[in-house]
Amino acid sequence: MDKRLEPILDIHGLRTIFRTRGGEITAVNGLDLAVAAGETVALVGESGSGKSVTSLSVMRLLTRNVGSIAAGSIRFKSKDGAVRDLVTLDEEQMRRIRGNEIGMVFQEPMSSLNPVFTVGDQIAEPIRIHRGADRKSAMDVAVALLDQVGIPDARRRAGQYPHELSGGMRQRATIAMALACDPTLLIADEPTTALDVTIQAQILDLLLKLQRERGMGMLFVTHNLGVVAEIAHRVAVMYAGRIVEEGPVAEVFRNPRHPYTLGLLASMPRLGDATRMKQAGEQLAAIPGVVPSLADMPDGCAFSPRCLYAIDACRQAVPPLLAVNAMHRSRCIRWQEVSR
């Protein structure tokens, strides 16, 4: 994060736990992350790394009686300038922030829209709730939003039901819904994962454009490193509930300093790779082993069982986030030896 900018979202020491039949598991363990206004931060990791749980924790939308925030603070700067810790807010205070100051876009455009209400009604709803607008003027705003997110013939589309729209259009509609009240922070939880590749690019362009126009902060959750390069300023790589490396996107991609990030980048195919690799008899690199179960974490560094660099010291204590430089940090005690 640019030090001159005050963050609008500042997560500190977040610990989110889940109660399961097998006991308590820690899905997010001591996470620090900040997002400044106008900045896009990508949170990257495999499924189960805790990235979606982090976004749900910020929204306080964890399933009741199952998931809960056990420790940490989530300081959020409201439109009126007041900074509050979302963890301590009551349900009603939190409700006034959701959809109003923080918008959220989910992964599945098919199932995240309600099938029995029109698209226009669903976009107009947050405007009516948070701004007290009447039906008609809220609907006018909804139509304008649909137009902004690039849906042609917006007036007619607003009167249609979700099943009458294509997947890409539905995701545009959910983005319009998330932006309805001009939030200062947008959380996008894998917004392109469920879409066709050509549509993915369109949605990314749209998010990028809207984020610049509105100067919003954006927390972009994804497992796709290719997407990160296109959209984010900064990236935080998560593994087993912890951030293992973070820094400016260009820096982390060019000069990864954690073996896990290194593995992720190596397993990402690039254009032209296939031909070259076929000729050289190479295979796409894969990280050996599997992600450890959250209920059965190894001692020390969670990545050590899969790590080629692991030494005894790695298995004794969880490494701290070490500064590679002023902007770049890695949770690896041997970061100096790790490089491409």
Binding site: R95, I97, S112, L113, P115, V116, I129, Y161
Partner: protein, 305 residues
């Protein structure tokens, strides 16, 4: 549908032991075998069964369901039509009670899942579904009418008294409530499981992420979707309720179709049995049609036509 139903009833009736002529004649007037044979041919009962059915069908299509054997002056159609009103009133009230209590308890159970309230409602539903109408009717009659004297034990109106809505409701409430038990229990169970499923859907989370109040998340976003399968169940419980209504009407002496049918069966009044079953069957078909139409109205994904 109705044709198949009428054929089935016709065959079943003739398979039961006993001769329709025995029901027709007055046992106190001795008749010679010749006289009986003459009466048989006069009534068409000497013809083969298919011919008898076709003769009945021909008349039925033109709106003549025949005449009651026991009450010779009464056309079956008039008899049946005069009984539809009370039955519709009884079943309609029961359905209304069942829908309201079933949906309310189902929603509360789902929202307060795994609490003592949920457990209590679920036990109530289990008992409701498991107790047959004749049993709950008799127990209800004993407790509320005989012991507590909260409601009259039978009839639709106080004999001799002037007609009043209050009097009618006073007579209606107990049989309607008892009739609604099984339906309410069934609706509650479906409502609960349907809502639990919907509450896990992504669009419910989306609604919360928009800042919708929790009450409206349930009452608007979740309930509208959860009601879809429940509407189907409500439609099919009406068929079930007809069976219950026959018992309730006999126990409470309610002058409806059920009582008419039971009396007709007891006295082997074949034309009345045929006519009443046919009309009940027609009603069930109409109700199912209405259910489908309702479904299309509340679910935009289904287009009528």
């Amino acid at each position: 549908m109705l044709l198949a139903l009428s054929m089935l009833i016709f065959i079943l009736l003739r398979l039961t032991p006993g001769d329709p002529i025995d029901a027709y004649i007055d046992p106190n007037i001795p008749m010679s075998p010749e006289q009986l044979a003459q009466l048989r041919s006069q009534l068409g009962l000497d013809k083969p069964l298919p011919a008898q059915y076709l003769a009945w069908l021909q008349q039925a299509i033109s709106g003549n369901l025949g005449y009651s054997i026991k009450r010779q002056d009464q056309p079956v159609l008039d008899l049946v039509l005069s009984r539809i009103g009370p039955t519709v009133l009884l079943m309609g009230s029961a359905l209304l009670i069942a829908i309201v209590t079933g949906i309310v308890t189902g929603v509360v159970s789902a929202v307060r899942r795994n609490t003592s309230v949920d457990l209590a409602f679920s036990v109530f539903a289990l008992v409701g579904i498991s107790s047959p109408a004749f049993l709950s009717a008799l127990i209800g009659l004993y407790i509320f009418a005989v012991r507590l004297k909260l409601a009259p034990s039978g009839g639709m109106l106080t004999p001799g008294a002037e007609f009043s809505i209050g009097d009618l409701l006073h007579h209606l409430i107990l049989p309607a409530a008892l009739l609604s038990i099984a339906q309410a229990a069934l609706i509650m169970r479906y409502m609960r499981s349907s809502l639990l499923e919907v509450l896990n859907q992504d669009y419910v989370r989306t609604a919360r992420a928009k800042g919708v109040k929790e009450f409206w998340v349930i009452a608007k976003h979740a309930l509208r979707n959860a009601l879809l399968p429940v509407v189907t169940v409500i439609g099919s419980t009406i068929g079930l309720a007809i069976g219950g209504a026959i018992f309730i009407e006999s126990v409470f002496n309610w002058p409806g179709m059920g009582l008419l049918l039971v009396n007709a069966v007891e006295t082997r009044d074949y034309p009345v049995i045929m006519g009443a079953t046919l009309i009940i069957g027609a009603c069930v078909i109409i109700v199912n049609l209405l259910t489908d139409i309702t479904y299309a109205v509340i679910d935009p994904r289904i287009k009528v036509g």
